[in-house]
Symmetry: C2
């Protein structure tokens, strides 16, 4: 029996298993669902055991419980650690859903409609059903561990200490994650990178009170003028960040990655139209898909000072403020970048004002080298199910826990996601196309068929 | 009898005349004092007539009444138009005054304490008593007109149309104003210039909504980044405004003025300490007193955009805003400057955002050439009363009505003020040193003695 045939035969059962977990409204952001979190974790434990996984349990954490499972077929074989999350986003406003109950899945027009159909119950179940298929067909040649958390949508606060505490238990060769998206079924892709972040608060302090701009204008530094000058000096006319040492650790794209980047379907016109801008703008020498995922950038996220109300007030304000951020790429260390920026701003700030730059927070970037054996197996599995080699796409956003896995457990994650941009995650009418879901299961099963001894 | 002797002899009477007008609480900003405005105007009319002025009347305006008086001794002689205002500022908070009633003048420690003791009842009465003295001693060789308004503290809205309507009535050779300050009795000065103003609102519009800075960072122009760049390009590293044509009409200081500027008592250390800044900053080639009054400047009065609350929000904001202003000096035309700035910003703005610059308002600068005959007579009169030639000081602020006189009536104003910075105008415990007040009267009388046929 082929993988496809096995899945075809079990379609109804697979869907019912998914629907069972979708029906529990495990909204982590709403405290009245506390009992549902426990219930969902127990559903997963029972379901993993039902697949024939030798051990599965609901473990306490500092927050919602964490489901751990393991299936060790050979202590000397490779070990895959599957990560997913069983919590979902809130559903309000209910009236924007086309179905009365977002937790009662509906199959319509070739889609599964429900909160969690994609993020991440649908995708986690792809992992479970893929493994089930692989086990049934005798593909499995590696050990598998599972970790499903219940707080991804509210920041994974409990997972970090859990990882620290259970490093041995969670030992694996890599982490397998289905919680991201593909470009489209016709242009399959994997997320090979995530950007990191560094965020600062700047305060520029001038006179000890707002001054009359007639009496003092032209004689003292204006904190807003100076803040603007500082900000304008951080990026040059080529879109390059001027902070000394800023690019030192940036891992440049390989020729293969740049080649794949070119194949990403992208229309400048549609891109600009979708966000209502006259033209793109970014670092010279790179196109928009490259700039988005593979290049760091500098953005002011907020600025304020002086008179912000109606009419005019002729003052030199006492203070000006900004919240500034950089997105980072591997292997930029956010703590190192944080310090470089502080040093630079202190260096370029005029002596006529007091400038206070505080590091607000940061997160590491993540990069999965596309020559990593497990990544290459995943590529082949996708090619088998989707008919095309997936493009490696570095994503512009951040998934902090992925960098957390690397930092705490010291291992890479393979981000093999089966979502689509149109799936409406976090929004009303969340959905998952049925064919993507079944192809996802097939991909995971094919992965296990290809992975094991030898890679 | 000398001028001094005459004034000495009439001290009590002069003070009583002043106290009479101070006692009417003519607060223009408070509508419950409407009747007091009429009462004060009538007091002035009666008082002018009591001096022997041949004609004085309370004239209606679109706001509070305006007092007009004239004393024509010879249709071929020069004519002085004395301007003053009879309205005063509110007095709250009452508990900060050392006297129970700010409208019941107190003489203590050599000062007159009361609302209006300086601004402008005290100073207007200097003009009236100076003329009274001049008339009594037979000094008067010119015609005199009076115009006292009742809305200076709330913007003089009614005065502008009044001037337009009564151009013929108000015909004069110059306007004589006592409503400004001197540096000190030891360093007498006259205000020879006032700065103008131009004020704009800028809006920089980027994407049609706030964007996720991870997904879009580095691919589109950030409106705050761009606004900061625009602002930073308006002033160069020498503190020079870069707008083409901006300085074309600036009247440079004469050598005499620069020489006088050097004599203005000024301590950088005290200046910085008083406003809590580490150092001065301004246009290269000029010192602080020069920068304040004789040079234009550019200040951002307010800026805002994006996330201004607590914590961090990783966005590229849709819009950014600023309120920007320039202080202008003669003969910069605020309407011309308004357009130059708009053109410049539109030129330097990147094509990746929409930039909207709107002119908010403006006002002309004022310059009294210090070689104007009436100015030079005023200088001599001050020298006679104070023992020193007064320094010509260009002030950093604006008195819109002074530019209005020049624009509508086509004549210059001589700003011969006897206030001191320590007089607390607009504040609790407003005061006027008795010796300044009497010296002011002497100066005005000496002015009339020197001015007339020949100048």
């Amino acid at each position: 029996m082929t993988t496809k045939e096995y899945i075809k035969e079990h379609e109804e059962k697979f869907l019912n298993d998914l629907f069972g977990i979708i029906r529990i409204p495990s909204i982590s952001a709403e405290s009245e669902h506390k009992a549902d979190m426990q219930k969902t974790a127990e559903y997963w434990r029972d379901h993993l055991l039902s697949l024939g996984i030798e051990k599965a349990e609901v473990m306490p954490s500092t927050g919602n419980p964490i489901v751990y499972g393991e299936h060790i077929i050979d202590p000397n074989a490779k070990t895959v650690l599957v990560y997913g999350h069983y919590d979902v986003m809130p559903v309000a406003p209910l009236e924007l859903w086309d179905q009365p109950d977002p937790f009662e899945p509906v199959i319509k027009d070739g889609y599964i409609w429900a909160r969690g159909a994609d993020d991440d119950k649908g995708q986690s179940m792809i992992q479970a059903k893929g493994l089930e298929t692989a086990m049934a067909l005798g593909y499995l040649k590696c050990n598998v561990k599972f970790i499903f958390e219940g707080e991804e949508e509210i920041g994974s606060a409990a997972l970090y200490p859990f990882l620290e505490e259970h490093k041995d238990l969670l030992k694996a060769d890599f982490i397998f994650v289905s919680d991201t998206s593909m470009l489209s079924p016709e242009v399959p892709s994997m997320t090979s990178g995530l950007r990191g972040l560094c965020y600062w608060d700047i305060e520029v302090e001038g006179p000890n009170r707002d001054l009359h701009s007639g009496i003092y204008g032209g004689t003292v530094a204006n904190p807003i003028n100076e803040l603007c000058k500082i900000i304008s000096k951080i990026v040059d006319e080529n879109g390059h960040i001027t902070v000394p040492g800023f690019y030192d650790d940036v891992v440049e794209m390989t020729a293969d990655e740049r080649e794949m980047n070119k194949q990403i379907p992208f229309s400048s016109e549609e891109f600009c139209k979708s966000i209502g801008v006259p033209a793109e703008q970014g670092e010279k020498g790179f196109n928009t898909p490259e700039r988005r995922g593979s290049r760091p950038c500098f953005d002011v996220c907020g600025i304020w000072g002086g008179h912000m109300g109606e009419g005019s007030k002729t003052i030199i304000p006492s203070k000006a403020h900004a919240k500034i951020s950089t997105r980072l790429v591997a292997n930029q260390d956010h703590e190192k970048i944080a310090k470089l920026m502080v040093d630079y701003i202190e260096k370029i700030a005029p002596k006529t004002v007091k400038v206070n730059v505080k590091v607000s927070h940061g997160g590491q970037a993540y990069l999965c080298p596309i020559d990593l054996p497990a990544y290459q197996v995943a590529e082949k599995a996708i090619e088998k199910a989707f008919g095309k080699r997936p493009l490696a796409v570095r994503s512009g956003g951040s998934i902090p826990i992925i960098a957390g896995f690397e930092r705490i457990l010291g291992i890479k994650s393979i981000l093999m996601g089966f979502g689509l941009e149109t799936n409406g995650i976090h929004s009303p009418n969340e959905n998952m196309p049925l064919d993507m879901w079944f192809k996802g299961i097939e991909t995971v099963a094919e992965f296990y068929k290809l992975f094991g001894t030898g890679n």
